[in-house]
């Protein structure tokens, strides 16, 4: 055990964890919006809209995140047309490519989580709203969405943790996140176990915090 290396690498890894958290939070926010959008499409009765939303989630859940990042980072840059548009400002940055891939990926899982949450809402609740003369729009925003969010909290908590682990793939497109810096230190010092303990410890701490925040929210918004 090289304790000195562990102590020396801790601040470096900690500042890299900030990048991991940034990647995570930005992709979760965008992913939540995407997920909500596609969950609503899934509830649509039009078969084409429905199929389209299902196809999106099927493709993103059925392929590895690494493939998705590589298609966006290496693949899209190949299209000449894209290079001449404003989009190129975003797509040439590995940071934004990673975020787009993460957001689309977590969006697919989130849409499934929200869809099943919407479907478990008892029809009686919606009917009760209707009989009180509340408009469909208000029922959706004030009744269905809050209930769905509460219902999906446990599953969404898992998704946040999975996504946090997923952000480690950003290191494959040159971003120095927690895993990226850990790999760099390992490959320069050849002390994989020490670095793994420190970096893994930071990841575990973040998992622990997320887990408990979700648990707290679940309790706070429980129906009983």
């Amino acid at each position: 055990m090289d304790l000195e290396l562990m102590i020396n690498s801790f601040p470096k890894l900690l500042s890299a964890a900030v990048i991991t958290l940034k990647l995570l939070s930005v992709s979760l926010i965008i992913g939540l919006l995407i997920g909500l959008f596609f969950a609503i499409l899934r509830l649509n009765k039009n078969i084409f809209i429905n199929r389209f939303a299902y196809g999106y989630s099927y493709i993103f859940r059925g392929t590895p995140l690494l493939v998705q990042i590589f298609i966006i980072y290496f693949g899209l840059g190949q299209i000449e047309y894209l290079r001449s548009t404003v989009l190129w400002v975003i797509l040439k940055e590995p940071y934004w490519c990673a975020i787009i891939a993460f957001a689309l990926n977590t969006g697919a899982y989130t849409s499934e989580i929200l869809r099943s949450a919407f479907q478990t809402i008892k029809p009686g609740i919606i009917e009760a709203g209707k009989s009180l003369g509340i408009s469909n729009k208000v029922i959706f925003y004030k009744i269905q969405i809050p209930i769905a969010i509460r219902q999906s909290l446990p599953a969404y908590g898992n998704e946040i943790i999975l996504m946090m682990k997923g952000t480690s793939l950003a290191s494959t497109v040159t971003i120095m996140d927690l895993t990226g810096v850990a790999k760099y230190i390992i490959s320069t010092t050849f002390k994989p176990i020490e670095v793994f303990i420190v970096a893994g410890g930071i990841y575990l701490f973040m998992t622990f915090v997320i887990h408990n925040v979700i648990k707290f929210l679940e309790k706070k918004y429980s129906f009983n």
Binding site: Y58, T63, G75, T179, P192, F196
Partner: protein, 230 residues
């Protein structure tokens, strides 16, 4: 399309073998995962606090740390560990361990943590009466486990194990960072030499979709088989 031709002119045969490699690594990893689950599930269910602690640490650490970090640990640490063991036996030459073994082992340990949780859940949800009935029938420990508990556990576990399989299959793409030529690595090589990453990575995505689709169909059959009588 000529990019996918078989033989020297295209990448068809290379990608075909790479797909076989992905399947082989996934199955090996899943199997190693089962072995880990076989060890850690009893520890999780044990009444001994210390054994509990060991099993819980295993599943918590593996499920809370990114797969890529675990793979780096094995990739960079595996050789050192093997050489250390070898040096005890007096062998001091450089040993390079096979990328397949390192990769399958790393993914297997990850897969094992998920399998352990699945088996634990399945065994815990078996009715207590079943254990008691088996005792009353005078079955010995093996008979009780293999004839009564295991078949019921499998029925409950298969839907969740199919999720573990999907995770394992997708995780094997990460082994490409160690140089094992599976789908991802082969696509990377092909994309590099043809300068057509969009095509090859999209094709890799199609291959993975195909693998998940076909394996889901096969697992559904298993599910039907083990649900007989329910």
């Amino acid at each position: 399309m000529e990019l996918l031709a078989f033989g020297d002119t295209g990448w068809g045969d290379e990608l075909f073998y790479a797909t076989l490699m992905t399947i082989a690594v996934s199955i090996t990893a899943m199997f190693i995962g089962f072995l880990f689950a076989l060890i850690f599930t009893p520890l999780k269910l044990s009444k001994n606090k210390f054994l509990n602690f060991i099993a819980n640490s295993y599943t918590t650490i593996i499920r809370g740390v990114p797969e890529l970090l675990v793979i780096y640990l094995f990739f960079f640490g595996g050789t050192g560990a093997v050489m250390f063991v070898a040096s005890i036996f007096g062998y001091n030459e450089y040993i390079e361990i096979n990328a397949f073994i390192t990769g399958a082992f790393a993914i297997g340990i990850i897969s094992g943590a998920y399998s352990t949780e699945v088996f634990r859940g399945a065994i815990q949800s078996i009715d207590k009466g079943q254990f008691e009935a088996a005792n009353v029938l005078g079955l010995n420990k093996f008979g009780k486990f293999f004839k009564i508990i295991l078949p019921q556990t499998l029925r409950l576990a298969i839907p969740n194990l199919s999720n573990v399989w999907q995770i394992t299959l997708k995780d094997t793409s990460l082994i490409s960072v160690t140089g094992l030529v599976e789908i991802m690595r082969q696509s990377y090589i092909a994309a590099g030499s043809t300068r057509d990453p969009l095509f090859f990575y999209s094709f890799a995505a199609v291959l993975y979709l195909l693998l998940t689709f076909v394996s889901m169909k096969l697992i559904n059959r298993l599910e039907v088989k083990y649900s007989r009588g329910f």
